[in-house]
Symmetry: C2
């Protein structure tokens, strides 16, 4: 397999662009006036929209371990990380720019595979790769994606906006990705069985919530939103801080995920620590107007998304608590992921 050094920069870029146009993505995508091969991409938003833009990066061995991920899975997961940020704004993804730092010994076919995983995942949510750049590194490889989408003018969801009384809902099974990552790196007890497989999948092959978010946006149900990339506890704190509210989590409404209970036994930690601690699940944490609950549940069923209504926003600014059936409160504890901590 030829490496980047064998091909040189410009031939490598030709390979990447060629692979992209064979998949039908790239310059023929909607709204792409000028795609790859110029100094910049030229893109045309729909009239009456705001541009919503995010950037997220993965670093080798920190965000993905080459022994656990295929190149396609690395690209797909970076796409989901960014798509998730747009989902959390209620935005429709449209275009992306990929910035790659790779070693010159990287096999070209594997880089094409990585791009294919990224392009296919973007395309499934209606977005196209419109350009990027490629530089050589000596040390760890990295990939940084900038993703652009649009919302009707003034309609982007924010972390701020939750009001006391709004319902707090979360998609999927928070904590699974983090538990999967911890299981995978425990060499002494390699993960076994379907429970572990489910957790590894949550880490390696996460799903974007873009289509569900767009359905909720059409319902005008969401008052605040954040995606779960640091962990449930950490991101709930971010949403509370931005909105100036507290949250009562209802003990009754929270059913512990059996897969996390399984992982907790293997890892020798509490299941709650896995459910609420550092984990990049790319699920959505939402504040919902109380009268829109049924409509949201209906949309969740239609999209095959698990949507748990787990609590309620309060006027106790910054206070997050568990509340039992009798109304008794105990503090909620947990913290999110810190890259440098």
């Amino acid at each position: 397999m030829p490496t980047l050094r064998d091909l040189g920069e410009f031939e490598a870029i030709r390979w990447l662009n060629g692979a992209r146009s064979r998949t039908g993505a790239g310059s023929m995508a909607s709204g792409v006036i000028v795609g790859s091969g110029d100094d910049a991409a030229v893109l045309r938003l729909d009239a009456g929209t705001d541009l919503v833009a995010t950037a997220d990066a993965f670093v080798e061995c920190r965000h993905y371990a080459p022994q656990h991920f295929t190149p396609r899975e690395i690209g797909a997961r970076l796409a989901v990380a960014n798509l998730s940020d747009l989902a959390a704004m209620g935005a429709r993804p449209r275009w992306a720019l990929l910035s790659l730092g790779v070693r010159s010994t990287h096999a070209m076919e594997e880089l094409v595979e990585l791009q294919t995983g990224l392009v296919d995942t973007l395309a499934a949510d209606g977005a196209a790769l419109a350009g990027g750049n490629l530089v050589a590194v000596e040390g760890e490889e990295w990939l940084s994606l900038a993703l652009f989408g649009e919302t009707p003018r003034g309609r982007a969801w924010r972390r701020a906006g939750a009001r006391p009384g709004d319902l707090i809902a979360v998609t999927g099974f928070p904590g699974r990705a983090g538990a999967g990552a911890r299981l995978a790196t425990r060499a002494e007890a390699g993960p076994q069985g379907p429970e572990c497989r489910g957790l590894l999948d949550a880490w390696i092959r996460p799903t974007s919530r873009v289509n569900f978010a767009l359905a909720l946006a059409r319902l005008e149900a969401v008052t605040a939103a954040i995606d779960l990339s640091d962990g449930f506890a950490g991101d709930l704190v971010h949403l509370c801080e931005a909105s100036g509210v507290g949250v009562d989590l209802e003990e009754e409404a929270w059913s512990m995920d059996p897969l996390l209970e399984h992982a907790a036994r293997i890892l020798g930690v509490g299941a709650e620590a896995l459910a609420f601690g550092p984990s990049d699940d790319y699920e959505l944490l939402l504040a919902v107007a109380p009268d829109r609950r049924a409509a949201c549940e209906e949309a969740a069923r239609e999209h095959g998304v698990r949507l748990g209504f787990v609590g309620k926003a309060t006027d106790r600014r910054g206070a997050i608590a568990w509340v039992d059936r009798g109304g008794r409160r105990r503090p909620f504890e947990g913290s999110g992921y810190d890259h440098f901590g």
Copy 2:
């Protein structure tokens, strides 16, 4: 000085955002509906425009050597690298997202300085930093910037568009940045004197050509454009390939840069190799409609930009040649920069 590890990720981001808002940049900038601190930025383009987007990245020791650049200069140079891509599209810069991979031992003040250099340089051309992300690395540090601007609809300059008969013009002194970099890394003969200082400046503190490009865009003079980031020869080939033309360079019109002649003597290479070979000068290479030459020269004088008319596009597709006063042709030789070659 506290490091990123001392502060942790979220406090570090607070420092960066705080430094940005003190300079007046960030969320108060024109068209920024939602700035840092949410899942994505929300930005509002002017009506009737196209979005022009580019991404470029610098890797430690490859694009900047910490012993030659202050943190501010690193940030400023990355801004110019991206601004130059928008200048080459005739686009007005508006917003940027910065993706940073830094070691946890990085001093926080130096990271703030780097951001300040970047933000001040963007601001001088009317653009604001609207968000980004921060990840930890073990090896080389890197910084990747995505920059967005706008042009009136359908009016972005491209590399394609030069027609036989169009004049070929170039700003500044191509080759100086590359010569400066080569002088700086020659430890055995540290660069001395004002000539070397001028060459080091071209490498360390390049100037953006955005304002001059916008003036030319108003003149409707430019038929094709590219920025010089690989070197004059390599980028001229790119422009010729994209436009399907050749170029005759006029020997008479080209006066060799005395600073490059000085560097050539020190480095023991030909001055032409420095002028035309690999060099990231962030100057503009333009094809200009012949009847707009005088107007362009007038704009160059107004903006204090050196603009050399060095040749003419021909219908000899892909052929680049020197032509002397008598019309005799000799081949032009040179090639651009290859990250992996």
